[in-house]
Structure formats: structure tokens, C-alpha cells
Symmetry: C2
Subunit: 410 residues, 2 copies
């Protein structure tokens, strides 16, 4: 028989999953309510309302999909892509490839634009490609955790709207940690993540989409067998969404006033998301973004003070993920496992072309706090000295403390 769960209390400085807010963890202990219990449908509505505030939009259709972040991305893409649809995906890291991967599985005609990992696109480059390709959909990542870069979106969104193209944004890494303005940037559908800057466990994917997307979904709608009136049941809906679980037209009937049975909402995860959103809104979005920027500054000063180099173009740095170039002669994985074993700190490695070349340090949500930044800097210095790296001792934590002193004196 396996023992009672008794885990080590890690300091999680990865780009997710990060430490969950203690209040969020406690909210999950709340006893179960039935999914159509009026108390529960109130909780659903409140969560939708708070999500709208976090996404900065007024879209009726703003709710979580019951699955991890990529479930939200797939729900959006599969619900709007029809075979042969032209989809343009500008790629600047791993998660751009994921969008291509998903779009291809729904038989899209995918056109990609690539730039070196560690950079983003000049919006003009993307706009030129949009005008050339004239896709039905442009899908792009806002914050690439694989590289620590963030793509400006506003100009691209404006051109998409002008040309009547649907603009889909993966904001999994950014929502709740840095500005994501769905309405202002003319984003038609966005996907957020729970286990990153919202500090809610993984397992739900908040999404939002506007009436332009809704119109398309209504054209493709098919009511589920077993719920539909048999006499009027549409057997032939040739454009039907090639997925049941992620069919957003059905999810609208579940989250909207119709309350048509679809899945059984993930009760405890919804409690968690509701509490996470309450915490975000209590702190206030502006204050929260400023907090993330402050800890990022302290982290960067500390890293540079110990002589490490940041990876990627600083002009497009994602404020919540800091990529560090692994110094010549240092085994990045050995450093990571020593950090975990001796200091109980988790940081991340990377994928694809950056595998073995960078470490990635997240400062997201509840993990983004002074204690964590200082503990990480002290530990990293100690581990590097232990590995005989030639770095100045004692500087990193001091540099970070300087940033904090200045911030606290304002």
C-alpha cells in the first residue's frame, strides 16, 4: 500500500507549473456541489466575470476549458479550423510549433514564418506575410516560455481585423503576469494558462472569444445526439467541428443560459480558478504587473552581478521568464539537479535548438516573490562556485537587494 502523500515543499522557479497560492489550495478543499446546483452555476458565472476582467475584454464567451493549457489552444483551433483553411503561424519558439501541430491535425493549410529562437517578429514582417498569404486565421504565441521572449501584438491585430482575419493568441504564459489586452489589441480568441501567472494548479485553460468567432461556431454547430430532439436531429452537418470535447459551440450551451449538459464541470479546479482570480483582482492588474517587473529586475541584476549572461534580445524579453546562457564548461543539467537536491529549487532547461544552451527561470504569480528570488540567487551562486565556475562571490544577492531597497523606498 502506498503511503500518505507527503511532498517536499519546493521553491518552483520554472515557467510553470509554479507554486499555487495557499488560498487557492485551500479553496480546493471546499466540498463538491452538483454541476447544475444554483450555487455552482453562480460560481461558474462569477468565474466568467472575473476572467473577463483579467483578459480585459467584454466577451460573453470567456470560460475555462477542462484540460491543461494546450486543451484551450486545441479547443479554439479545432472549433474554427475547417479542412483546407489557410492558417498563418509565425513561430519564434516551441509553442509556435505546437500551434502548427494542432492546426495540421485538423487539416489546415498551414503557412509558417520563422525567426531565430531568442527573437520575436517585427510586426511589419508579419503584416507583410499576412497581406501576401491572406489566411483565414493568424495564430501566434504572446509569451514564448521556451525562449523567454514576448511578441508585440497590437499592430498585427489591427491588420487582421481590417482584413477580416481571425486573430488567435496563446497568452498562456502572460495572462495575469503582464498586460494582455484582448479587446484593445483586436484579438478574436485568446487562451490563458492557470499554472503560470495565475498560480492555480494546472488542469484548466481559460479562453475568451468574441462575436466574430461565435458567428463561425454557430454555422458549424451540431447539437449532441442523445440531447437533441430526434425529430429535428441534424444528421448532416458537414462543417461540424471534428471534436466533441473541445466543441466550443457545445461549450457555449453549457456555460451560457441554456445550461445544456456536456461534460461534468471540474468542480474543485473551478473553485481553485475562482479563488486565483479573486487574488489577482484584489491585488489589481497594474500592481500585479509592476510586482512582476520589480522581481524580474532584481533577478536580472543578481544574475548579471554573478557574471552570467541573459539569453535573447532584451528588447523583447518576456517579463515573467528569464533565460540565462549556460556558461561554457558548465553542465546545465548537473546544476539543475544540484539546485533541486540541495536547495529544493526547481528551474527549467529548454527544448529544440536551445536544449542544453539555456536555463529558464520563471518569476510567475505566487512564485514571484522576494524570498524566492533571493534564495535562487544565493543557491545558484553556491552551485556554480561548487562547479568551479569563475564567478564573483557574494555579489548576486546584494545586487538584487539593491533593487528591492530602491523599490521599497518609493
Amino acid at each position: 500500500m502506498y503511503k500518505e502523500l507527503n511532498t517536499t515543499l519546493r521553491t518552483i522557479m520554472t515557467p510553470g507549473p509554479v507554486e499555487a497560492e495557499p488560498r487557492v489550495l485551500r479553496a480546493m478543499c471546499t466540498p463538491i456541489l452538483g454541476q447544475f446546483d444554483p450555487e455552482f452555476t453562480d460560481i461558474m458565472n462569477e468565474t466568467m466575470d472575473m476572467l473577463r476582467q483579467v483578459f480585459r475584454n467584454s466577451n460573453q464567451w470567456t470560460f475555462p476549458v477542462d484540460g491543461t493549457s494546450r486543451a484551450g489552444i486545441e479547443a479554439v483551433l479545432c472549433s474554427i479550423i475547417e479542412p483546407e483553411d489557410k492558417v498563418l503561424v509565425p513561430i519564434y519558439g516551441r509553442f509556435g510549433h505546437l500551434m502548427v501541430e494542432i492546426a495540421e491535425r485538423y487539416e489546415a493549410d498551414v503557412v509558417t514564418l520563422e525567426t531565430e529562437w531568442g527573437n520575436v517578429f517585427d510586426p511589419e514582417t508579419v503584416i507583410r506575410e499576412i497581406k501576401k498569404v491572406r489566411p483565414k486565421i493568424v495564430a501566434i504565441v504572446h509569451g514564448e516560455t521556451s525562449t523567454g521572449c514576448m511578441q508585440p501584438l497590437k499592430e498585427i491585430g489591427e491588420v487582421c481585423r481590417e482584413l477580416d482575419i481571425l486573430f488567435v493568441v496563446d497568452a498562456v504564459a502572460t495572462v495575469g503576469g503582464t498586460e494582455v489586452k484582448v479587446d484593445e489589441w483586436k484579438i478574436d480568441a485568446a487562451i490563458g494558462g492557470t499554472q503560470k501567472c495565475l498560480s492555480v494548479p494546472s488542469g484548466m485553460a481559460p479562453i475568451t472569444f468574441n462575436d466574430r468567432v461565435e458567428a463561425l461556431l454557430r454555422e458549424r454547430k451540431r447539437v449532441e445526439r442523445g440531447l437533441a430532439d430526434p425529430s429535428t436531429y441534424q444528421i448532416k452537418q458537414l462543417r461540424m467541428i471534428r471534436n466533441n470535447y473541445f466543441d466550443l459551440s457545445q461549450l457555449m450551451d453549457y456555460w451560457g443560459p441554456t445550461r445544456l449538459n456536456h461534460h461534468t464541470e471540474a468542480t474543485s479546479m473551478l473553485y481553485a480558478l475562482r479563488e486565483g482570480l479573486r487574488i489577482v483582482l484584489e491585488e489589481g492588474l497594474e500592481a500585479r504587473f509592476a510586482r512582476h517587473k520589480m522581481h524580474e529586475a532584481a533577478l536580472i541584476q543578481g544574475i548579471q552581478a554573478m557574471g552570467l549572461k541573459l539569453y535573447g534580445d532584451p528588447k523583447c524579453k518576456l517579463p515573467v521568464v528569464t533565460a540565462i546562457t549556460i556558461p561554457e564548461g558548465i553542465d546545465g543539467e548537473a546544476v539543475r539537479s544540484t539546485l533541486l537536491r540541495d536547495f529544493e529549487i526547481e528551474i527549467a532547461s529548454s527544448f529544440g535548438p536551445l536544449k542544453g544552451k539555456i536555463w529558464r527561470v520563471g518569476t510567475m504569480g505566487y512564485s514571484c516573490r522576494k524570498k524566492n528570488v533571493l534564495h535562487f540567487l544565493g543557491a545558484m551562486e553556491a552551485v556554480l562556485i561548487r562547479c568551479h565556475a569563475k564567478i564573483p562571490a557574494g555579489m548576486a544577492v546584494q545586487a538584487a537587494l539593491d533593487v528591492y531597497s530602491k523599490a521599497e523606498s518609493i
Copy 2:
């Protein structure tokens, strides 16, 4: 600002979601671990091992899909169905229709067999159809919560194996509450539910599949872009699974020793499932099934003592869901809302042809206990008397108590 979560403590007697085990709720408060933290991968492995015991099989591939129960059904079906594949679905309630619905979305050539709701199939009828249709896949529901009926599977499984047909079983309602023998019944893939007899919140779908399914998945496999080595990347995998999130060939690499990044495992839900499985195995499967039978007997005696009639053929009754015919002249929905408002008890209505005709009472997992059965019977009697139903007063609880006295004296 929305208030702190403060829900009513319901008595949940529906066919799910049911009350979660208090230990399960507490397990969800456990702090987050990173998904590749060795402590976490141990938790993944332990959960797989316990799931194998609950499914009574030895399949390596036994793990939860991160989504609600139907996510598990869709993961299995989309991973094995290719366009034009012949899929036979015998339907005896709503969730048979769901399997058709999902199979159609993946362009299967679906053949159905239907029987009236409230019955199941004589295995011989299904076997005759199998021999006539010769499908690639037979997909069937084990316990239909929509009608309260349970389909015998063993004979069907044997014929499927003989004819090299894949046998897929939706055991969402039955696993952990009544016998589900995956190996012995020659089930190739089964899907369980968390929010029913396992008394874990909704949001995960345990699945299991054997090497026959694995062989098919390996033929269809495509490694995800962004993870694959670009020089050997298979652009053309014509048989690839038309879904990324539910692609079981990728989930095998995530849950298996390869530990290839796919989604970010739903940490807290996995903690919950692990604890739920620990509780099931501590009680012991046989003892647990006997407990469910005992409370079912008490419930039935109570219901009949107040003059209500059970719905459906008693020979195929699902032990964990009891369907009651709504008496002539009684408004079933008014009774349900009075039960909820005054007694804080939730029971269920039904769907399709049974809408307005039956109530469904679940006795599942942690909700399946003496206090709940007695509270429900007393409350139901009171509400019916309040609605001027002509029923004998005071008999129901006594009849149930008689069952309990007898059981306790053994």
C-alpha cells in the same frame, strides 16, 4: 469583488459528481511539484499502479487523461478510429449516443443497435450483429447512468477477441463501485470516471488499454513538432491521430519512461486521484462492491416501502444508480427542487425519452452511506406527502433500517 467561497454542504445522491472523500479534498491542498520532479513522477507511477489494480488488469498503459470523463472516451476513440473505420455501438441510453457522436466526428462508419431505455442487450443479440457487421471496433457503455442499467460484457468481449475486433468499454459509472474486469472480460480499452464511484472530483479520466491498442497507436504515431529532431521529422504521417491533446501515442511517451513533454500534468487532480485510489484499495474492491450492494438494497426497500416503483428491468439494474418512476400527477422537477431547497439533497432527473419520467438516485463512493440513504428516504417521503401523494407514512426509513440491521448482524 466576489466573496470568499462558502458553499452549502449538500447531500449529493446523483449519479455524479458525488461527494468527494474528505481525505481526497485534503490531498488537493498539497503544494505543487514540478511535472518532471522525481517526487512527482513517482506519484504518477504509483497512481498508474493503483489504477491497474482497480481496473483489474496488467496493462502498462493505465493512466488518467487530463479532462473530464468524456475526455477519456474521446482520447480512446480518436486514437483508434481512422476515417471509414466500421464502429459498432449498441445503444441503451444517453451515453451510447455519446460514443456514436464522438465516433462520427472522427469520420467512422458507425453502425448502431438500439434497445429501449431501461433495458440492456442480450449478449447474443450483440454477438449476432458483430458477426454480421464485422466492425473494427465495438464500443459499449458498461453502466448507463441515464437509465440505471448495466450491460453484461464478458461474452461480447470473448467474441471480439476471437474475431480480432477492438472492444472499448465506457466504465465511467462502474469503476470502483461494481466489478469491472478488464483483462478477464477481454476489454481492449476501458475508461473510468473519477467523480462517481471513486469519489474524486471531476476533471480526470482514468483509462487503460492493452498491447493490441498499443500496436495500432504505434502505427499512427507522430512525434510533436518542436520536440522532434528536425532532420528526421515525419511531415507525412497520413494515418496520424486527428487530435493532439488526446493523442494516446504521445501520452504514452509522457507517462512512460521517455517522459517526453506533452501537457503539464494536472498536479492537484493527480494528488486527488492518488488519494482516492488509496482509499479504494484500503477498503478492498470486494468489500467496496458489497458496501455498494448493501446500501442499494436499503435504498430499494425504502423506495418500495413508500409505494414508489423502480424503473427498468431489475435483472440488469446498475447497483450504483437507482431509477424511480415519477408517480402520476407528481411534478418531478418540483420534488427535486424542494429536496434541494429544504433538505439540501440533490438527486437527478434524466434525458431524452426518460425526461420527466424518472428520478435517478446515485449511491456512489463516499455518497453511498447509511446517513445519506436514510436522510434521502425520510426527505423524499416528506416531500411527497407535502405534494399530496398518497403514500404510506413512516415505512420507508424503517424498511431501510431493517436492511441495515440484518447486514450489521452478519
